[in-house]
């Protein structure tokens, strides 16, 4: 049933990476419970623009939970008070009339704030560039069915491949560790024959890049797995540890 609610928002505002930020309080009225969280922020921004104020900067793109652009730490949880969804999939029916909502950027040394609620996540791109791919040499197109892959491996690889690189795992981690993300990216390829060829080099290079960029050491608390919108399992972290240690011992 559609309902309309009024809310108090505490939003992190920060001019740029260098300046200190602070929370600003805003009121929004008559928000449909059928609208999404980002639509609610759009309404806020329209309100701000009409009042001649600067709108709140936040990341978003697909708005259907597949691109990984949206972020936001909402009321104590990355992607807000719902499980296995991204912020763009969060509905306003998850909030009560009169509620105060705290909206913060991801906070981790690896993800510095650029402006308001937007953080710099290029560290993830750098980690991918360090080895999160398969090299494809030119030539004839191989037959897709030529390499048999066990169903279990294919399933696990697909599960790992569902990581959208949003960074909620880092945002939730008390150690600022990126291990869930890196383990998903290593696993999706390590499980498949096409990815095995470069598996050792990939694990070494991606972990080296992750360390270099200042992400923390995983202590297996499991907060990442709980907050991951795609349900990426920490079993992938055990696989990454295996792949990495194997690769190092082969040197």
């Amino acid at each position: 049933m559609e309902n309309y609610i009024n809310l108090t928002l505490k939003v992190w505002r920060q001019k740029n990476a260098r300046e200190k930020g602070r929370f600003e309080t805003y009121q929004v009225k008559n928000i449909s419970t059928d609208s999404s969280f980002l639509e609610m922020l759009d309404i806020l921004n329209e309100q701000l623009i009409n009042e001649g104020q600067e709108p709140v900067a936040f990341d978003h793109d697909c708005r259907e939970g597949i691109c990984g652009m949206c972020s936001l730490y909402i009321n104590g949880r990355p992607h807000g008070p719902d499980d296995d969804i991204t912020t763009c999939q969060l509905h306003m029916r998850k909030f009560k009339n009169g509620e105060t909502i705290w909206i913060e950027p991801w906070r981790s040394a690896g993800f510095p704030v650029i402006k308001d609620l937007i953080v710099n996540r290029t560290a993830f791109d750098q980690i991918i560039a360090a080895g999160g791919y398969v090299s494809v040499n030119t030539g004839g197109v191989p037959d897709a069915n030529a390499i048999p892959i066990p169903k279990d491996d294919a399933d696990e690889a697909m599960d790992a491949a569902s990581c959208i690189g949003c960074g909620a795992c880092v945002a939730a981690c008390k150690n600022g560790s990126a291990m869930l993300f890196v383990s998903a990216k290593v696993s999706q390829l390590a499980l498949l024959p096409q990815g095995r060829v470069e598996a050792a080099r990939r694990a070494k290079n991606m972990v080296a890049k992750m360390d270099e960029l200042g992400f923390g050491n995983c202590t297996n608390t499991g907060a990442c797995e709980v907050e991951c919108p795609k349900g990426i399992s920490v079993a992938n972290i055990a696989r990454l540890n295996r792949e990495f240690l194997k690769a190092k011992l082969q040197d």
């Binding site: 104590g76 690896g110 008390k174 150690n175 202590t219 540890n241 990495f244």
Partner: protein, 234 residues
Amino acid sequence: MSNLLSSSIGKKLLMGLSGLFLMMFLLVHLTVNALLLVPDGGEFYNAAAHFMATNPFIKVMEPMLAIGFLVHILWGVKLTLENQKARGNSRYASGNKTTGVTWASQNMLVLGITIFAFLVLHIAQFWVKMKLVGDPRLEGIDITIGGVSTHVENAYALVNYTFSYLWVVIVYIIAGVGLALHLSHGFWSSFQTIGFSNQIWRQRLSVLGSIYAWVVGLGFALIALLQYLFYQPV
């Protein structure tokens, strides 16, 4: 190798392996201590303590154990400091409402420091007296081991005397609970760290880890308590 050990996963490997090693030691230690409860005036326990003190394998393992502790403690502190840096200084104003994360897993250093504080006391109470400065209560007695009369230290008397103080027993109970909590996360975590876990084994290791942690933690505490309650020297 140095390259391996400077990586995040390599540093964690040291934590995991030293943790596994310490956990194996605890199992041996608890087994020997359980002999304190045999109601024979300490004869069995003294025989076992004599065996442990004279056995060449144990002589080799003792410095290994010291190294194991040292590596575990130094790297534990180092990792925790690095992780605080990686996390950064800004805190979430709306707190942390993530559910399903155990308290122990987030407080391993605090629990470790509790264990360390206990360890200092424990070593001063027993190891220092048995190996370095001596204690009148340790004065040798003759017991028969396998039909042969042997002169051994009366370790039982020292242990029994130490546990006649209530505050000592309370400290042991607190340390036992701290240890159990440390291992309730540490057991599973060490296997995960060395790469031995997956969706199925995670469940098994968690269950096994809880059993191990509480049997060991409460086991040591219970031995101290029972010594206090029932085995007062006359």
